[in-house]
């Protein structure tokens, strides 16, 4: 076994090892080296520009998609990589925010991303504001054919929803979980209120309790500088980081009897149920 992981559901997923730009200036003799599922992985482009990935003596299944590198650790993916149509949609601007290291389980990271309830406390004056703390009811559905969870008709009042926002706004949200460690959220684009911006969260699990959380924007915003967009997103992630790192246990409680903590909202509950149903255990309490 190349990786220290016996969770088939994660081994058969596509896991990111970071933005494709990591390969600039790299080669087989000087590869990009990173940690995935407790093992060192080397990645580079061969003479034909094809991405190659190795772990010890094994060649890995790897692909370049949406500006990111994706590895299927088992080499037997259950699905092709998830669709991300917004990435190529005309009129959207793609901004890669790169990744921030967080000492927490990847499952906890994704659950936090799906939770609107923490906005007024953790992202005060940006994504929420005390006392407007109520999360209005929304719908959660599992798309069985795609194997994804969707939360729709979510909304939240936000004092400053994005860098371009000049006033508070009742922001519409949609969430989509494509794999246990990959999710996308859609939210009202401040400069174009009829459209929704997309924010991808791609988690690279270094091990069960430490990850890098990458963030990719597909935004309707032609005016804000790239630096300002990055700065806003890093601020939000930087606010989440200590909260995540102080969660105990660091792993997601999924064992029998741990169901439905009262602080969780419908999406967290659905995510945990879905993880249990598909048998995901990597990064969970066992």
């Amino acid at each position: 076994m190349t990786f220290q992981c016996d969770d088939r559901t994660v081994l058969d997923d596509w896991l990111t090892v970071g933005p494709s730009t990591r390969l600039t200036g790299r080669s087989s003799t000087n590869p990009y080296r990173t940690k995935l599922l407790s093992s060192d992985v080397d990645v580079w482009r061969d003479g034909q520009g094809k991405v190659v990935a190795r772990c010890g003596d094994s060649t890995l299944m790897v692909q370049d998609a949406y500006g990111y590198l994706w590895i299927c650790p088992s080499g037997k993916p259950t699905k092709t990589i998830f669709s991300f149509p917004e990435y190529a949609e005309p009129g959207r601007r793609i901004v890669d925010c790169d990744g921030i290291g967080v000492a927490v389980s990847g499952l906890r990271m994704v659950e936090n991303f799906l939770d609107m309830g923490h906005f007024p406390y953790v992202h005060a004056h940006y994504l929420g504001e005390v006392p407007q703390t109520e999360v209005a009811a929304y719908e959660v559905n599992v798309d069985e054919s795609a194997g994804e969870i969707w939360a729709t008709n979510c909304r939240f009042y936000q004092p400053k929803t994005s860098k371009s926002a000049t006033t508070g706004l009742d922001v519409q949200y949609r969430y989509r979980v494509m794999q246990p460690m990959s999710a996308i959220l859609y939210k009202t684009a401040f400069p174009r209120p009829g459209e929704m911006d997309a924010i991808g969260l791609f988690v690279q699990p270094h091990d069960e309790e430490s990850i890098t959380a990458y963030c990719l924007l597909a935004y309707y915003d032609d005016t804000t500088t790239e630096t300002d967009l990055l700065s806003f997103q890093h601020t939000i992630f930087g606010q989440d980081k200590p909260i995540l790192e102080n969660q105990r246990p660091k792993r997601m409680p999924l064992q029998p009897g741990s169901e439905v903590p009262t602080r969780c909202d419908a999406m967290s509950v659905a995510y945990r149920r879905w993880l249990k149903a598909r048998g995901t255990s990597y990064g969970a309490v066992r």
Partner: protein, 213 residues
Amino acid sequence: MRLYDYELSGNCYKVRFLLHALGIAYERHSINFFPGREHKSDQFLSEVNPLGQIPVLEDDGLLLRDAQAILVYLASRYDKAKAWYPDDACLRGEIQVWLATADEITRTASAARLHDALGYTQFDIEACRAGAHEVFRVIDDHLSVRQAEGAQWLVGDRPTVADIACFPYIALAGEGGISIDGYPALRQWLWHFRSQPRFIGMAGIMALDLTHH
């Protein structure tokens, strides 16, 4: 006045904190520190800071680098009450000790955080953490003597630029895998610092009062 700034930088936060405390309006000029490494670009090196570091302050024709230098400058020039950098030889001497210590905290605790959070794998993480613990021990010892005497701050009887300079990377130590559980006096001082009336936080250091802006 213009500050070359990055939100996640504790050294930039020191300057933002004092500017806010003094009620000075300024332009926040964001640098693409990560992932862009704009502070290492030819233009930044030649026009802003040859050391390739932030913060840098531009004020009235002056271009000043180094958080500690900027704190001393701002307090000397704009703090009419002379509270943050008191006009007293002994106090200034003591303050200088902690301004130099702040740089040692940057070299150790901040480096550990850059390693863990922003992928600065070139740093020797264990050496950074060990170095941070050495500095924290010294500060904790100093503060426990001070607290036994009924004092709360590093120097004198009110917060000074010394406290501002040492605060952020101690508050953010956990992000570099450095626990401050073993430093009770340090923790009490952090709490006092965060309880100041004009306290502002940064990403990773929450304000105690969420309704305050």
